[in-house]
Symmetry: C2
Subunit: 381 residues, 2 copies
C-alpha cells in the first residue's frame, strides 16, 4: 500500500505550515535597495537574493549566518547492478573523511564559515566514528564536523528489483531530516543547505527525476562519478527497469519510497522543516535537486525559501531546474554533491545581505541621485 500523509504526522503538519512569503516584504526590500548608493538594479541577482532574504525573514536587515550544511549519507542497493565507478564501501569511508575534515565539503564549508553536520541515515558499512568526534549532537568549534547516527537500514534495497524502502523506513528517513531542521532552528540557523553522500545515488535521483519531470531515463541519466560507456548504458537500463518494476506513478512520496534513497528522503524532510522554520535554503546539485523536486511537488511554497545554488553537469539537474523554473546562481561545471555547490553559493547570500545591511543611502552619503536627462549636461571645466 502506498504511503499516506496520515502515517507521517510531522510532514503533514509542516505542509500546512510552510507559508508563501509575503510579497510586501520583497517590495519594501526593493524600495530600500533603490535608495542605496548605486544605480537602480545594478547589482542584478544580488539584489534579487537580498529581497528574497528579506521576505523569508520578514525584515529589512536580513542575516545570512549562522549556516549549516547537513550531509545525509546512505547506501544504495542498486550498486549491485554496476552503476557506479566506486565501490559502496566508499560511502562509509567518505563519512569518516567528513568527520576528520578531509573532504571537499569540509574545505568549502570552512571557506564559507558554515558548520558541517553528517547524518548517517543508511550507510551499509562501518563509518568508524573515532573518539574525537562529537557525537552528542552539539556543534563544537574544534571539530570539523558533527555527527548523528540515525541509520534506518544498511542501504536501500535494489530499486531495479523492487521498492527502495518500506513505508516505515521512508517515514523514519524523512523524520531524520526534520530532526536536523529543528536542531538548526534551535541554534538560530539562518541559512541551511543539505548535501549527500551515497555511492549509487545518482541512479536513484535519475529515477525520481524521470518520474516527477515526466522525462525519459535517457534525458535524466548522466555519468555520475564518471562511469565508462558500458556502465553508462547499463545505468540507463537500470533507471528504466526501476521505473518499470516499481511503477511509482507521480505521487511524490511514493516515487521517493520506491525509487529514491534514504538520504534523499532525509533531505526532503530537512528542506520542508527548514521552510517551516523560515530559513533560507540553498540547493546543491542533482541529488539534493531530486529532493527539491519532491518537496516542491508536495508544497509549492517551499520554493519561496529555496535558492538554486548551482547547476551541476549531470544532465538531469538541468531538467530539475527547468521543472522548478529556477535559474542557478552558479554554473561551475561541478558534479560532486556533498553540499559543495551550496557552500559556494552561500557566499552570494552573505554578499547580498552585506549590500542591503551595510550600504549607505543617497541621502546619508550625500550622493546626487540620477536625473532624467533630456538635455546634455552643461559643459564642464
Amino acid at each position: 500500500m502506498a504511503v499516506t500523509l496520515d502515517a507521517l504526522p510531522r510532514l503533514k503538519s509542516a505542509l500546512g505550515r510552510v507559508r508563501p512569503v509575503d510579497p510586501g516584504w520583497r517590495h519594501r526590500a526593493e524600495v530600500k535597495l533603490a535608495n542605496l548608493t548605486k544605480p537602480p538594479n545594478s547589482l542584478g541577482r544580488l539584489e534579487w537574493i537580498a529581497a528574497r532574504l528579506c521576505a523569508i525573514q520578514e525584515t529589512l536587515s536580513p542575516r545570512a549566518a549562522p549556516r549549516w550544511i547537513v550531509v545525509f549519507a546512505a547506501d544504495h542497493g542498486v550498486t549491485a547492478e554496476g552503476v557506479s565507478a566506486y565501490p559502496s564501501a566508499v560511502t562509509a569511508q567518505m563519512v569518516g573523511n567528513f568527520l576528520r575534515g578531509g573532504a571537499a565539503i569540509n574545505a568549502l564549508a570552512r571557506a564559507a564559515t558554515a558548520d558541517v553536520w553528517v547524518v548517517d541515515v543508511g550507510v551499509a558499512g562501518d563509518v568508524g566514528v573515532a573518539g574525537d568526534i562529537d557525537v552528542t549532537g552539539s556543534a563544537s568549534a574544534g571539530s570539523d564536523a558533527s555527527f548523528r547516527s540515525r541509520r534506518i537500514r544498511p542501504g536501500t534495497r535494489n530499486i531495479a528489483e523492487g521498492p527502495a524502502m518500506s513505508n516505515d523506513e521512508l517515514a523514519a528517513a524523512i523524520s531524520a531530516g526534520f530532526e536536523m531542521a529543528d536542531a538548526a532552528a534551535t541554534e538560530g540557523v539562518a541559512v541551511l543547505a543539505c548535501g549527500d553522500m551515497g555511492i549509487g545515488n545518482t541512479t536513484a535521483a535519475s529515477a525520481i527525476t524521470a518520474a516527477l519531470a515526466r522525462a525519459s531515463a535517457v534525458e535524466v541519466t548522466g555519468r555520475g562519478t564518471g562511469i565508462d560507456e558500458p556502465a553508462f548504458r547499463r545505468k540507463i537500463d537500470v533507471v528504466t527497469r526501476a521505473l518499470r518494476v516499481n511503477r511509482p506513478g507521480r505521487e511524490p512520496l511514493e516515487v521517493l519510497r520506491t525509487v529514491g534513497g534514504l538520504e534523499i528522503a532525509a533531505i526532503v524532510g530537512a528542506y520542508l522543516g527548514a521552510a517551516e522554520h523560515r530559513m533560507a535554503i540553498v540547493g546543491d546539485g542533482f541529488i539534493a535537486g531530486a529532493a527539491a523536486l519532491v518537496a516542491a511537488e508536495m508544497c509549492p511554497s517551499f520554493l519561496d525559501y529555496w535558492f538554486a545554488g548551482h547547476q551541476s553537469c549531470e544532465p538531469g539537474h538541468a531538467v530539475q531546474l527547468r521543472v522548478l523554473r529556477q535559474q542557478p546562481l552558479l554554473q561551475l561545471e561541478m558534479r560532486l554533491g556533498e553540499g559543495t555547490g551550496a557552500a559556494l553559493a552561500m557566499h552570494l547570500l552573505s554578499a547580498a545581505a552585506a549590500v542591503i545591511n551595510d550600504m549607505a543611502t543617497f541621502d546619508s552619503a550625500g550622493v546626487s541621485r540620477r536625473r532624467d536627462i533630456t538635455e546634455p549636461e552643461a559643459a564642464e571645466a
Copy 2:
C-alpha cells in the same frame, strides 16, 4: 605624435618581464587534484582555478590572500555630451562614500575580506577626504578604505572633440597603476583586483572596445548606469564621433590615450604590474575589461594571471570576453563596476585554494579509488 613605449620605461620593462606561466606547474597541480578524495574533475572550474593559482605562484599550496581591491577614480569630459544618468559630481561624492565605507564595494570587500584602496587619478571635484581617513598609504584595520591622491588632471578632455589626454598624462596614469601594484607586492598581496569610479566611463570603455575588438559602436555601447532612450542614442553617436575624431587606430596605447580614461589607464598599469609580480588578478566588469583588452593586446601573457571574474550586462563586456577568449566565473546580471564583480569572484579563488590545500588524498583518508568497472559489483547485503 602617438605615444611610444620609450616614453614609458616602467611599462616597457614590465612588458619584458611578464612571463607566461609554466604549464608544468599546472600539470603538477592537476596530478595533486586527481589524488584528492573526490571523483576526478568533479569540482569543475574550481579545480581549473586551483591549477591556475598554482601555476601563477609556482607552488602546489597556493594562497588566495591577502587581497586588495584598488578602485581608481577619475572624471570624463565626455559627460558634457549628456551620456550618463548621473552628474559628474557623483564621481567625487562616491569617492567620499568609498572612504566612509558606504558603497557597494565596501560591503562586498568586507564580505570577501579584501582591503579597499581608492586612488584619485583624475576626479574633477572635491573628494572631501576627512581627517579620519588614512591618507598615508598604509592600510589600517580600522578604516574602511585607504586613499591615495594621484590626481593627474580634473578629468579627461571630451573624447567626442579630441584626445582624452596627452602623452604625459597617459604615462602618469599608467604609473599610478604600477605604483599600486608595487605597493601590493610589498605587502605580499596574492590576489589583486581593480575597480573603477568615473561618471561617463562606460562611454570611454565602449570606444576602447570598439577600436580594439574591431566592433561597431552599436555592438559595444550599453545603457551604463541606466540612461533613457534619447541618451542611449546620443551615447552611440558620441562613441562613433570619438572614434571618427580621434582615429585611434589599433595601437593599444594610442587607443587608451585618445578615447580612454585616466582610471582605465591606471588599471592597465596595475594589471601589468600585478602580472609582473606574479599575482592572481581578478577581472571586474566593462571598464576594467577595457583595461584588460589593452593589457592583453600589449602582452598576451598577461592573461595567464587574469581571471574573468564575472560578466556584466553591458553588451560590450561580452565582446571583450569573446576577444579575450575567457569564460566568466560568475554571471549575475550586475553592471556596477567599482570592483564589485571581482569581489564576489574572489570567494571562488579562496574556495579553490582551500580545496587543493586542505583536502585529504585517497591514501591519507583510506578511501577506495575508482575502478574501471566492466562487470557489475557482486551483490551486496
